[in-house]
């Protein structure tokens, strides 16, 4: 399996699974505007996933397209972060998850624009623009809830305490990634971590939130070792293609 295929699969799966999670809010948003906002962001993410997974299929060269990769793999073959498959919880939990993710994807796409792989650079250039809107939205909500009422502060602090342990995984890289960094195809995630940390520190301070002292971290998603939540997501996501193979909408 080529290193680049593996990499594209990772970032494509992140978009796909988080896009699916956000789409679960459709019709359940706390207010109409947020219902629309979350589904808009879901649409951007699923759009990114389509482009990325189609490209992964091309790189693989076994005749699988983006749809085949999205709908016909088993859970162990998905490479997404554990963070993005975590349940929506309350609105605060969803916004905190989104904020951690957006603060990571913005610098990642910024750097990927300069990738020596022209297709990946083009996808990053396109996705970066919409990611700016996503980060503006999620960071504003983290601040508003954190620096809001006693109840909203407590809830978003709970979300931070729950999700913090999934953030270290954002920056894990394997030997395939190191090979790609060497060739100038992808950026070093240690560089991205610095930008992420800066954004997170600034926003959490403004939101009067505190990072938990416990530094236990979870990982495994990048190697296909997922939490139990992914199975349920896939059951819903893949149902139609599994029940009626090759059906078209």
């Amino acid at each position: 399996m080529s290193a680049l295929f593996n990499y594209i699969l990772k970032i494509g799966d992140d978009s796909l699974i988080l896009g699916h999670r956000l789409s679960e809010w459709c019709g359940h948003g706390p207010i109409l505007e947020e219902d629309i906002a979350m589904t808009n962001i879901a649409l951007d993410l699923v759009g990114q996933a389509t482009t990325l997974l189609n490209y992964a299929g091309e790189l693989e060269g076994n005749g699988r397209d983006g749809d085949a990769l999205a709908f016909l793999r088993f859970d162990r073959e998905y490479k997404n972060l554990l963070l993005v498959e975590q349940p929506n919880g309350d609105f605060g939990m969803t916004m905190m998850r989104q904020f951690f993710f957006d603060a990571y994807r913005l610098p990642l796409f910024e750097k990927l624009q300069k990738s020596s792989d022209a297709t990946l650079a083009a996808i990053a250039e396109k996705s970066l623009k919409e990611t700016k809107y996503h980060l503006r939205h999620s960071s504003e909500w983290v601040i508003r809830l954190g620096d809001g009422t006693e109840e909203s502060h407590k809830r978003i602090q709970d979300a931070l305490d729950t999700l913090w342990r999934y953030t270290d995984e954002l920056f894990l890289q394997d030997e395939h990634d190191l090979e790609l960094i060497e060739k100038g195809v992808v950026p070093d995630l240690e560089e991205i971590r610095k930008d992420w940390q800066k954004t997170v520190d600034t926003v959490l301070q403004e939101a009067t939130l505190e990072v938990p002292k416990n530094n236990w971290t979870f990982s495994g998603g990048r190697n296909g070792m997922h939490s139990e939540h992914l199975g349920y997501i896939l059951a819903e996501l893949q149902y139609m293609q599994r029940a009626y193979p090759n059906m078209k909408w």
């Binding site: 505007e33 649409l43 022209a118 250039e125 396109k126 980060l135 600034t202 403004e206």
Partner: protein, 161 residues
Amino acid sequence: MVTREQVWKWLYEVSDPEIPVLSIIDLGVVREVNVEADLCLITITPTYSGCPAMKTIEDDIISKLKQEGVEDVKVNLVLSPAWTTDWISEEGREKLRAYGIAPPENEVDKSVLFAEPPTVPCPLCTSRNTRMISLFGSTACKAQYQCNDCLEPFDYFKCLK
């Protein structure tokens, strides 16, 4: 044989499926037209990654050109250079305003965090006393605003750079 100029004119008559007053040329999604022998190759670029209108635009281009007698049409999708609202024509901006959608303001590429929403004049009464209700709206490309003077809620075609 058809000329490129002729094809551009035909494409001008293809409208955006979400904002029918706008032609796909006004919107700036058609990047290139090439005519080689019998083949007509059209290059388009998406506005947003997940914009569901892209497939419809592709189908509409093919059916419009078939209707004009061009049988062999290929639509190619490119991502780079990425679409920006700067590519919406002056005429397109006027059409948007007349339709009740505020066209994109020329926002400089400011920082993402702690950014104030842009001041957007109301397309109905032109007052600048308006407020942003949500950064996201009825389609990926729009935000929701309301005029504080005439109270009209309106869509803002948000700046994408």
